[in-house]
Symmetry: C4
Subunit: 378 residues, 4 copies
């Protein structure tokens, strides 16, 4: 039943599909959008939208995290990004924007970001950002890399983080390293925490299963691949066709649920979503929520002023993300999420579109919609 | 025999094909084009061409509906469009054209159309349009959305509509809704009418079968997808590869014919046709008639003066169609349909080309031509 | 073993491949190009190259037919083209070139050609052209359409034609027509002639087999499809993926050889060849010779001065060919065919490249090279 | 298990894949990049990097060969290139660069190169180049064509060559030729030499196996295909989808190892690598080392000053390589290989990226990494 393709003598490969390779097929009674729910809950936290942000300064400032929270989503602050290194982030972002305005080449933009990230981490800065969000009454989340998780987490918890995101390009349950770089044992790390932890990214069933066994509340699939922005495939040879990756992680979720007799680990899809149609497809493939990046950069009130990059853009020696401009649409975040829209290409009214996709295919909640039929292009 | 592809662990999808993925294969005696018939009949109405228009103001005014009828096709007035809302449609269309001339962005054009559609429906206006067409002695058809079908139909019938088209992006035989939005039971609705009803769109066998069981005379496959114009795939994740969708609906037609011992429900293909070759392929896949849109916008006497949009372009909160310019060819409608042509790309002499495709493959009528052999690109 | 794909419920299609979908695989001892022969013989006529021209005025004038013949190929005069209608063809072609220089749109060019072809056929003109070629001592061939074959052939034979080409877009052994258009029975027609007849185009095994049974010496596969020039797919829905079409016709050749106990009918590939690599692939798929069109238009001494069109470009009501400029390379015909080349893209030294492809894969004659291994892109 | 596709009646073809058709799938514990080794050894020669250069003057001068050697790779001088024909190579290259600056067409650049290669081979020149490299203390390698191998090799050995590369587009163990062109019997040729010999290119299992049986230390797969530069597919019809070609050659390596009870012949991949991700994929498919070309031309200190061509570009009658500009990145060779990088597209820090790809997928040496899982695009 596994469709293996012989790609050479004695070597087979699975076929893998991207979100834009698949189509949703309506085949049931239609419903009114009004009877559709997009509610999502992870651990004790309940959200109106199945939306978590990619942890990039291009879309998440404390102010934006608050706005996102009030609209029903979860903004994730990058605890190793600009808000953790600079007291005046507006000025720092301004430097990137000026380079972009001068139409300089991709590497100049990356270099600017690398320089800004060469400033040391200051725990009091990110703590203040976290408190700002928490004080506004919305759920507060922050991301750390696996390398710095052990070191940075205590301060984040002290500052009031409610959901911890441990995220790198590829994360495994165990990391092999030399003496000067202590490995992170995720299982031990998570066991000691009182807050739910979301970890990733992964791109296959097996690693997803291992991460689920660490006690994580959620597993991230993918690493924020977005057309024109991230290029992990060109840099590392590791591309993640998201439709297949999400489906595989959902299979791990199902098997782990069976193995544990009922522990449900959420699957968050990070990448491949550039429009509302692909957002719907990510859920249709089995994602519990979508980690949105580039689409949110189009909001007129986004910190990056229309520019987008992933958290891998600032790596000091091997950056894996361009800094690119998104669609120029001049709507605020609320309109971006809920409309109304005059845009015919699926970049405005993202969740109105999701509701309508669910309604037109006859599903009333996200969990049900994960079973909708799909076709692939022949 | 069903070709299922494993797109991830435990999840399969059918392969689906678009019209431009397939090719017609000649394999019989050739015929003279003169011995080929393109006649089509639905209910008591007989047409020289298997052509119904997409119900958009960009191509159908009362005057154009008359011209189309006299040339052998069926023009469908949009009973919820500009002719139902504005007493001076020329002026209204002029506003859209002016925005287009100023080269403004897609959303500005959509916004203009949304504003024009915010004007209230006035039943006397569409009634007058219908009478104008009927008085000219051609078959008159009008389109309503499922939401407004019950409300608007009585006036349309009173005005003399002969064929009713109930059309939304995705239509099912039963619609689930809340109290404030009464569901349309298509079976009951159709049973009470004396005129033939065409309903859609659908994209799969099962929904097509359900719609056939409502008593419809015809079922529409697709939702007017045209390259560069409609983007339901980007907005809702619902793309409809038309070759497969038409073949599946034709399978439903065959099974329903068997189930009922002889009731033949017509399959109308709405989308994927940008040239005469694709028109021929739509029939070759099993369509009884083609719902033409963008190709007709190229006529010099089209109301949209070369611009094209589908009826989904004016949706107030979630538009799913660009407003785009078609090929600039400067021929009138009659030449567009019957030639002669100096255009080498299949946009002029649409039905002369269909006749020739049938002749070259040795078929003399449309029903036979539905069986012609096809290949797919490897 | 037949790879059928389900393209919809109850409908299957064969996969078909174009020349640029396949690759030749070297897997034997290499040879020196010097020990390779590209000789080809049809009926009593022997050629140094497996090359026949597409019968278009863009590449074949009497002078060019002589030059082609002296270099080892066979030029085919279009007996229904400009040389059969105008006493001053240079002036006629000049009109087309002037329209092209003014950068007018495709349909203007086609219209010019249509007007030039509206002039009546004059048998004395084409007779003179044929005699000119024959007097130069090279084999002389001319093309007629199936519609005019019976009427025009006697004069062509009287003028000295040695190989007759009966060519339309799609030709079948029997053509069904009305009384005012007498059908051509190819079998009877060919039986009465003393010269070898080449007929086509066909695109499938069955029609190829039927044409072989008419007594034809050669069957043409395809209808001159060339990227950017011919658009039979867009106009009629009939595209011919040439790799599969050639292989199928070669299968018919094999089966007909068996059926007749030894009559070998040549397969000529007309289309899909834009460079020397595709020329080699056409032979590798089983063609005995290639009907070259667009690549020859690049010669500095071609009548079309770099413009190319197929014989279907001038159809009065349904043209199926653009008039397009080829590569601008400034070499004469001899260099185009035999080099030397400074062009890295396979448009110069066409037959030097074929020899080298045969040598590198270890084959010494064309018939053997038809068995070389192929891969397809996965 | 062999996936054969029917491409026409009675003719099948294997599916073949390029490096950019496949993706590496992480599915094990991750590692620190610091515990990863990229060491490679062939015969007695040990290298820090699995990198050999394509033997083109665009990237290898004696000075660059020394620099490459000191950084851990192996530069291969083209013993039939400019360094073997001109005493002032800088001036010769300057002529090519001037033509390029004047934006002349591809064939003008090729013509310039052809003229430069029309100068006679002078053994004292290449001997001097070899000695220069050897005196610097790095391993010295030079390439000869199969045609001139017998004639040129003695002088190269006398000059101190340590690894001999016998390379043509397609090389077989035996070459059939006429009397005036004595064949090279590779087995006899290699048996008489004391230095390890690397031979190629090949594109299939069988030819690879035959070359391994000649006693070669390494076999080259491919012929330097690089997007935009080489066009052997267009010229000869012989394209080499590199993922499949490398896998097949690795299968030959395995079978030959078994057949000989332990002789390990290295597989060098020459082509298809334009970025670090594809470099990683080449190893992942089974290559022991990669023959790098175009990516090295981007170094600010490359002899071609950013231009790139393969050794087939200067063929006097049938060139098969464009001369093209690579990415404009302004970093030196060391940074190109080891970073740090501000480039997000995989063209800088090529081997830092390889280490990271190995680390992220959990492998610690190249031989192990050849087993990493792969997917193909569906």
């Amino acid at each position: 039943m596994r469709d293996l393709v012989e790609i050479g003598m004695g070597r087979t490969a699975r076929q893998a599909f991207d979100l834009d390779d698949v189509e949703i097929v309506p085949s049931r009674r239609t419903r009114s959008s009004k009877v559709v729910s997009t509610a999502w809950q992870i651990d004790a936290y309940r959200f109106g939208l199945p939306m978590v942000t990619h942890p990039t300064d291009a879309i998440v400032s404390p102010a934006n995290a608050i706005a996102i929270g009030k609209l029903g989503g979860l903004g994730v602050l990058n605890a190793e990004g600009l808000w953790a290194r600079h007291s005046n982030v507006d000025e720092a972002l301004g430097r990137v924007l000026r380079v972009a305005e001068n139409l300089e080449e991709p590497s100049s933009l990356v270099r600017e970001l690398q320089e800004l990230h060469a400033a040391p981490l200051r725990s009091e800065l990110i703590a203040e950002a976290i408190k700002t969000v928490r004080d506004a009454g919305v759920t507060v989340a922050a991301r750390v890399s696996p390398q710095h998780a052990a070191e940075l987490t205590p301060d984040l918890l002290a500052a009031g983080v409610e959901i911890l995101v441990v995220q790198g390009t590829i994360v495994s349950a165990e990391h092999v390293s030399q003496d000067d770089e202590p490995p992170l044992n995720l299982k031990d790390f998570i066991a000691e925490l009182d807050v739910p932890v979301v970890v990733g990214g992964v791109s296959d069933y097996r690693t997803a299963m291992h991460l689920m066994r660490t006690g994580a509340a959620g597993v991230i699939v993918g690493h924020g691949y977005t057309a024109g922005v991230t290029s992990t495939d060109r840099v590392l040879g590791i591309g993640v066709p998201m439709a297949t990756a999400i489906i595989d992680a959902a299979a791990a979720r199902r098997d782990y649920l069976d193995e544990t007799g009922g522990r449900y680990v959420h699957v968050l899809a990070d990448g491949g979503v550039t429009c509302s149609g692909e957002l719907a497809k990510a859920i249709a493939c089995g994602a519990d929520a979508v980690m949105l990046g580039a689409p949110l950069a189009a909001a007129s009130d986004a910190p990056g002023k229309g520019l987008y990059w992933t958290s891998a853009a600032a790596h000091p020696s091997l950056p894996r993300s361009r800094i690119a401009a998104g669609p120029d649409i001049e709507v605020d975040l609320e309109t971006l999420l809920f409309g109304p829209s005059s845009d015919p290409d699926g970049v405005v009214n993202l969740f109105g579109a999701l509701r309508r996709a669910m309604a037109k295919t006859g599903y009333s909640d996200l969990k049900e919609f994960q079973k909708v039929g799909l076709t692939v292009r022949g």
